[in-house]
Assembly symmetry: C2
Homo-oligomer: 396 residues x 2
Amino acid sequence: MTLPLSVPLSSRLRDVRGSAIRDLLALTARPEVISLAGGLPGTDLLPRERVAAALAAAVADPSAVQYGETAGLRRLREVVAAHESERLGRALDADGVVVTSGSQQALDLVARAVLDPGDPVVVEDPVYVGALQVFQAAGAALHPVPVDDDGMVVDVLAARLAAGLRPRLVHTVASYHNPRGATLSPSRRAALAELADRYGFLVVEDDPYGLLAFDSAPPVPVAAYGGRVVRLGSASKVLAPALRVGWLSAPAELLAAVERLKQCTDLCTSSLTQIVAADLLADRAWFAAHLDALRAALRERAAALTGAVRAAFGTAVTCSTPAGGMFCWLEFTDGTRPAELLPRALEHGVGFVPGTAFAVDRDLSGAARLCFASNPPAQLHSAVQRLEAAWRTTAS
Amino acid sequence: MTLPLSVPLSSRLRDVRGSAIRDLLALTARPEVISLAGGLPGTDLLPRERVAAALAAAVADPSAVQYGETAGLRRLREVVAAHESERLGRALDADGVVVTSGSQQALDLVARAVLDPGDPVVVEDPVYVGALQVFQAAGAALHPVPVDDDGMVVDVLAARLAAGLRPRLVHTVASYHNPRGATLSPSRRAALAELADRYGFLVVEDDPYGLLAFDSAPPVPVAAYGGRVVRLGSASKVLAPALRVGWLSAPAELLAAVERLKQCTDLCTSSLTQIVAADLLADRAWFAAHLDALRAALRERAAALTGAVRAAFGTAVTCSTPAGGMFCWLEFTDGTRPAELLPRALEHGVGFVPGTAFAVDRDLSGAARLCFASNPPAQLHSAVQRLEAAWRTTAS
């Protein structure tokens, strides 16, 4: 029983879009459905035995079950700083890192620390829905900039800035974009960092997928191109989501503000899971081998999914070619509307997310996001067969 | 290295008081200092071996390391609902509970869901600083009501309401108050619930300590007296803080809003630690025995601390008589100002929190909060000896 009481809610809450993806997860959780919908790393690819061993070792220390410092476990901040220094090509120390409960919390705290209601914020279109929700909850005025095969179209942003737009923040999933799969090109990264300096905004570089490069080194972070970049990272896609460990690096003043807000929000992240994350990230040989295996598995899954899609749909679909990350982006060229296809697809036992769920201003009614990370190749083949069957039924 | 960049911050952040307690923890973390400052359960009292066993069992399930539902693990919601039903004396089911990353997150999400900037909120004085920070971050207009030996002085609240105050929320740590140690009397609980119905506000009953009753059954919750009560609970004080598991029960509409905001804030709480919390709370025989041992240890510690304080300070101090929870409240009657005593106390190797850290409007410059939970009796005796020595030095 819940109470039937009517509670007046905050006016800003009305602006927060529900996540169609999270709602979909309820439907796709049925065992007979193969889900390409969630942004879940493959459960079979998570290093569960290594996590179990690290947990067993961690809990031997009494302080592992106690409260910890709000800014995070010192040792984890050190190992994250070491990893980040390598990515950035410049030294970052532990004081430049704050640990959060997943990178989603880092994004929420940055938004709360920086934004007043009505402040302009640039988001990508299509957008990571979790970012859209954060900025809506902060009462921001959203200014979408389109994403194409090379990531955010920075020329469009430059034109808006030249026309007078003065955002506080520009949010980007620059590497292996969610949902678009695209990666911001080096020249666009340089241009974005230069615009941030020129116009005085902060770039929030949301980077949970950067290490999941299939065939190359991870993309050079936007933060390597300039100083006005907050970087968000996460253990969820490279270790395990249930650790709920993320982090950010940012200017000192902003880090201090984030730490103060984190006190309000959850006091601290779990000492236990921070120890595990620190152990695994500090074990360089193991982590490198694990990442190699993970990247190889994801590359195989991406190839399986895109190959099956191209074989099944031919010219009726254009399909992105993932170079990393977890997502493939489809655009139907035959007039199919994925939002209308979805109910039939679920009847056929396959789930995905229609592009409309990620649209800010654009018409993405012909697009769909497919996650290739959650299922092994054979399942992905079956999923595409089911999707094709649903499509043929709908089309006829 | 951190970036020297100056970042303009949200105007509301300037209203958020830093936690003097968290700042103090840095000082009291020195190994030679016995800390009565933090609100930490005794590390030696945490059921670390049982947590270790539960972790080892939990991680055998692949889903334990994956993302989970935003509202929380179904089984944990069920077991919390069962416990809450017993406390409330009426049936609550799993849909009436949302799991959060500690009860601090529940408080933050409730505030964000309900409050618009400028909305009036009633807080206790002295106040739980984590609540003060949450309401400051939400931009609320704070209306403090004093706490005495029987908890919040509800007559004062009633008079303010009669005079026209119309709060959205009234926050109370009704059982074993932090920092005051007091428990809201049954008649005041009934009066508070009746006022909530009459004036249409929500009571937020923040209850991390209720099960830590020394000699009696836990206090009957305020929520048992009326329907306009949001209850917040936590595994931190009865199992382990590092689980970062809390929960709330609330009207359905508010729970849905909290769940939506939790998507923005951290997507979900750790599946792994939720499984552990569910296992331990569902093991009724073990949990009852553990609670009994915990309550007995806390009772012993409270007696040790208050006995030592009375022996050392005589009539120079009045000292509360804890009936549960973790805190003892001192008021110096000899003109000693604990904020001035503190630096000398730290030199003598003992830390505590001056009452001023918890003051909203009141003059609490003669008061201090001492936590008896973190240290065994012998340490508490030493701590009070050190405090007495510092006091005698200061007084001379």
